[in-house]
Amino acid sequence: MSIKFCKKTRRQFLMGTGKSILALPLLPSLLTKEAFAQSMTVPRRLMFFYMDHGNINEIWPNKNLATQAVGSSGARERLLSSIGTNLQVSPVFRNARYASLINSNLLTILRGFDVAANAGPAHGNFQLACGEGRNSEGNYPSIDSIFEASSTLYPAGTTGANVRKALRASLGGTDIFYQKVGSSIQGLPVYRRNDLPTFYNEVFGSLTGGTVPPPDMTNQFKSNILNRVHASFTSFSSNRRISADDRARLTQHMDYISDIQRSFASVVPPAGPSCSRPAAPPDSARSNSLEATRAYLDLMAIAFKCGLTKMAAFGFDAHNPQWIPDLGFLNGQNFHDAVHGSQGNQNQEMALRNWWRYNADLVADRFLAPLDEEEGTTGRTYVDNMVTTMAAAGGIHNLGNDGGHNGRDSQQILIGSMAGRLRAGRLTVMPNSNNRNLPLNCFLLTLLNLMGIPQSEYASATPDGRGFGYYAAFGNSHPFRNRFYQPITEVLT
């Protein structure tokens, strides 16, 4: 066998170079989307769907499927797309949109969180994610109030006057969100089924017929006024005979005045999509849970797209939603009791699975669908650029285990990647030691991290100012004590 040596002539070299030069303008089209994305700042947004009663492991991928080590603390991962179809990942994901999300590596399942406060009911811990009754068990602010108050997330100079910093709605009963005021906490209003018109008016009342109003001097005048009003408050707080608690509330009031003043001070309205006011929800939705759920999901999606908010929370009807067709098999038996095991394992699994699946369908069709379009020139969709959670309360650990939301091994579902900041598309299983899992607090810190919230803005949420959430029950001997105040780095890029 002889080896041929191909010698290029000068002519051939020059011809090849010329062709290459011609191809140069085409190269950008071969660049990844990320290169373009870096040129446009995408707002960070977070949507909480609060799934009461948590999860049972039987309807989610077996954690042993995660075999690839990630990070150095024992966590493991596996691409969800390698597990199988959407239905093979979970019967909850019957909607075709989830197949698309899995194939696009935009759906993530994080597994292995200890949600329980000591051995007691885990409502008390999960409230810190998006609010649920029983805050008396913890007396801590809920995470939505942190986002709402964040000057990082909502910079004073560029946040429009019509922005609502947190939207809270629930069909799920006595959910209560909390903000910290001085040394105490204050319950926050929640929009319920009957409050749809008020929600609509408050969120969309400022939208006009679809054009961005030109800047005028009114905002400057308003800013001027508020600047002077702030001084009135300062004088009042300093000189009047009021208690320390009252002063703390006045300080909070003054902070809001400052924020509003700065929002008026920006001469040019912040750039963003112009939006028409959407149609008002039908009045019948006030007395129909399905219509109300749809309306809230529709309106919240529009609010995100229109830049009217960056954080919203919605709780699905989870006490006894007999209106859900998929629960017809209960024959009128109470849903709440069924998911706590009163009717046996089979009905427990079916009730939770069907409830999750029905609401996941609604999320897919009413919330994700309108957001599944490219956001500006980012090369990514709104869905990709934000994170949507289906966040579970407590967690009913396994079938038959009616620990009363005693979720020691729960999982959280995330959709989107926050514009590439989340290592998405995986089943990621947290390390486990001596049958103890990672406190859910770490997941909450991860969300704070994804939203770019510095620790200084949530330090007051815990007595030691280091973390976010209720840690006392986990004890000094917890195997992951050194990770208490850390986000889950294995899922952050």
Binding site: N118, I176, Q179, R228, H336, G404
Partner: protein, 655 residues
């Protein structure tokens, strides 16, 4: 030698350890199980025991989820709740200490028996609790802005834009006490702050664009606003008058100087100067908050002040009408005569007789008894049998709003009448069908509808497809008798089980499920259920029934079961009482000291916008005395409200 040294040091070390092992920090959890705890220390020890053993699940003591638990309930829970197994090592005395610590955290109003043999609040001389600085609620803010605009022209408040802005105010009510909506007067949010600002801004635009005639006629400005521009001296007169109205009191020269220096801007146009002045007042904390701190110090106290006459009128006016003082009240404050008893009495009567008092009375009773809160009104069409539930909620609310307003304000009802009256205003066909009557105002319903607890609003508020004696009983126990049960364990079933082939009544099913002796359920449910069983003669839509229909899967009636409404309960008094049905129970409640005391608590909470404190007991007793009066003409609910306002504590501000 070396060995001896080692032995010496080891021995010394051992001795030291032995000597000092009892000097480690005291841990109450290590308390010997047979310790006898003296009363003086038991609360402190109980607090420590609670923090070490209970707080992890039930939260800090001050906001514990089990503040309503008594010693017996705690004991049973420890013995029976699986998650509390680790606490079974606590002794009886330790559990007693925890119980005392919990009781100590309860809101004010320990109950005693007075010399007349009636239940009363334990009245002891204690330091006054702090009076919180309350913000105007949305309702009060709207009325205050309207009143402010009225001082210029009655037409201004009809402006479409300002009314749209009012409709967009973020809600300031939250659900508290399980199932009542309460206005939050201490809640500050960014959206609320912004909304109030935009409303005030619009108000300033309306005033600034008023006609020259309107502006020149504004009081105490020497018509200077009619000039082509607003001079500094005119601005001063204007803002002084605005402030005296907006702040609900005279303003000092110093205050006017501050306002002028803060809001005067010589570069502004006339309209802008007017707007600045208006907004300077409407966005001042003195407008937005009810601050009553300008009075003289109460003798022998450090942080307690007596309200001035103007502060007193403002407080009365907001309490009774939800709005600022009118011109008559302002005049009486100016001359100080509002502080005389005769004038005060007359003015309270006048305000209670005004149209403005009716929504306030409705608000009081809505927040007390929660009749405007509904889990949902989802019933199958076959069950509804043609009753249209669209608008039914509003109709039921309206009925009870009118019920309480009419009885309290028009008929001078006493508490017993409040609990037993058959008066009703039915404004919808749906409600009329439920009551088997016609629409119409001020009609007398049948005896079975005696009192508000036998009305559709209370009967349906937490109903599902099946009426729940537990939820109905909870409403009575917690809201009418102020006996707070707290939250159930998370895994507590929220529906009745299926008994297979055995078809049992709702009452029987409830009894079997929740009143099993020896379980942790019965201690609460024996109290709850016996206040719900009397309403078994009403279905979940509030319709009267003589039998309980059992439905099959297709929604058709399969069979009928008998109704049993008789109960025995000791929740209304110290001794067990028997009631044959809900009408008898209504009459029992109407006579119950416990129920009257509960109403007094509600009244105090409504006035102070927070939980009553132990230091409020004496004041609450004054109100209670009115309700206990032997003379029916004197023991009216209106009289009780007057008594609260006339009490000494009402005129105090503590900080």
């Amino acid at each position: 030698m070396k060995h001896l040294k080692i032995i010496f040091y080891m021995s010394t070390l051992t001795i030291c350890i032995t000597l000092f092992q009892n000097c480690s920090p005291y841990h109450a959890a290590d308390l010997p199980s047979n310790a006898v705890l003296d009363d003086e220390n038991s609360i402190a020890i109980g607090q420590s025991l609670y923090e070490n053993n209970c707080a992890a699940c039930h939260g800090r003591l001050e906001t514990s989820s089990i503040l309503s638990r008594n010693f017996e309930q705690i004991t049973v829970a420890v013995a029976t709740v699986p998650e509390m197994a680790s606490l079974r090592g606590l002794s009886t005395s330790q559990l007693e200490a925890i119980s005392k610590a919990i009781s100590n955290e309860l809101g004010g109003g320990t109950v005693v028996i007075n010399p007349e043999g009636r239940a009363a609040f334990l009245c002891e001389a204690t330091a006054a609790s702090k009076t919180p600085l309350l913000k105007l609620t949305n309702r009060e803010y709207e009325k205050s802005i309207d009143a402010f605009l009225d001082s210029f022209s009655q037409s201004l408040k009809s402006d479409a834009q300002i009314n749209q802005l009012f409709s967009q105010m973020p809600t300031d009510t939250i659900v508290q006490d399980r199932d009542t909506y309460k206005e939050q007067a201490k809640l500050v949010t960014e959206t609320g702050t912004r909304s109030h600002f935009e409303i005030a801004y619009r108000a300033s635009q309306l005033i600034a664009s008023s006609s020259s005639q309107v502006l020149s006629g504004y009081p105490n400005t020497n018509s200077c606003l009619s000039a082509s521009n607003v001079s500094n001296s005119c601005f001063r007169l204007f803002i002084a008058e605005l402030a005296s109205r907006g702040f609900r009191r005279p303003v000092t020269t110093s205050e006017v100087n501050d306002l002028v220096s803060r809001f005067w801007d010589s570069t502004n146009t006339k309209a802008q100067r007017i707007q600045m002045a208006v907004l300077g007042v409407l966005q001042s904390p003195d407008f937005l908050y009810k601050a009553f701190d300008r009075g003289a110090q109460e003798p022998n106290t450090v942080n307690t002040l007596n309200l001035t006459a103007h502060e007193f009128t403002a407080k009365i006016s907001y309490l009774l009408t939800g709005g600022p003082p009118d011109s008559q009240l302002r005049g009486l404050a100016n001359n100080g005569s509002i502080l005389t008893l005769a004038v005060l009495d007359q003015q309270i009567e006048r305000l209670l007789n005004s149209a403005a008092a009716r929504p306030t009375i409705s608000r009081l009773f809505r927040e007390s008894y929660g009749y405007d809160y509904y889990d949902g009104l989802d019933f199958s069409s076959s069950f509804r049998a043609g009753i249209n539930t669209n608008g039914l909620r509003e109709s039921m609310n309206f009925e009870l709003d009118e019920y309480f307003s009419n009885l309290v304000l028009d008929r001078d009802a006493d508490f017993n009448e409040l609990m037993t009256s058959r008066l009703s205003t039915v404004n919808s066909q749906a409600l009329a069908t439920i009551y088997d009557t016609n629409t119409g105002a001020n009609q007398n319903l049948p005896v079975a509808r005696s009192g508000f607890l036998n009305r559709a609003a209370m009967l349906t508020k937490r109903s599902g497809s099946r009426a729940s004696p537990i939820k109905r009983g909870l409403s009575v126990l917690e809201h009418v008798l102020c006996d707070e049960v707290g939250l159930p364990p998370p895994s507590a079933p929220t529906s009745l089980p299926d008994f297979g082939n055995e078809v049992v009544s709702t009452r029987e099913a409830t009894f079997r499920t929740s009143e099993v002796q020896g379980t942790s359920c019965v201690t609460c449910h024996s109290r709850i259920n016996n206040l719900g069983y009397p309403y078994e003669n009403f279905d979940s839509l509030g319709r009267l029934r003589t039998q309980e229909a059992v439905y099959n899967a297709n929604g058709a009636v399969e069979r009928y079961l008998g109704i049993d409404t008789a109960v025995s309960t000791s929740s209304l008094s110290l001794n067990p009482q028997n009631f044959s049905d809900s009408v008898a129970l209504a009459h029992g409640i109407g006579q119950s000291d416990v129920a009257m005391m509960c109403f007094v608590r509600h009244l105090k909470r409504f006035e102070s916008r927070g939980r009553e404190q132990s230091s409020d007991s004496c004041q609450m007793n004054e109100v209670l005395e009115v309700m206990y009066n032997d003379d029916p003409g004197q023991r009216t609910v209106k009289g009780a409200i007057k008594s609260l306002i006339k009490s000494d504590s009402f005129k105090k501000w503590s900080y």
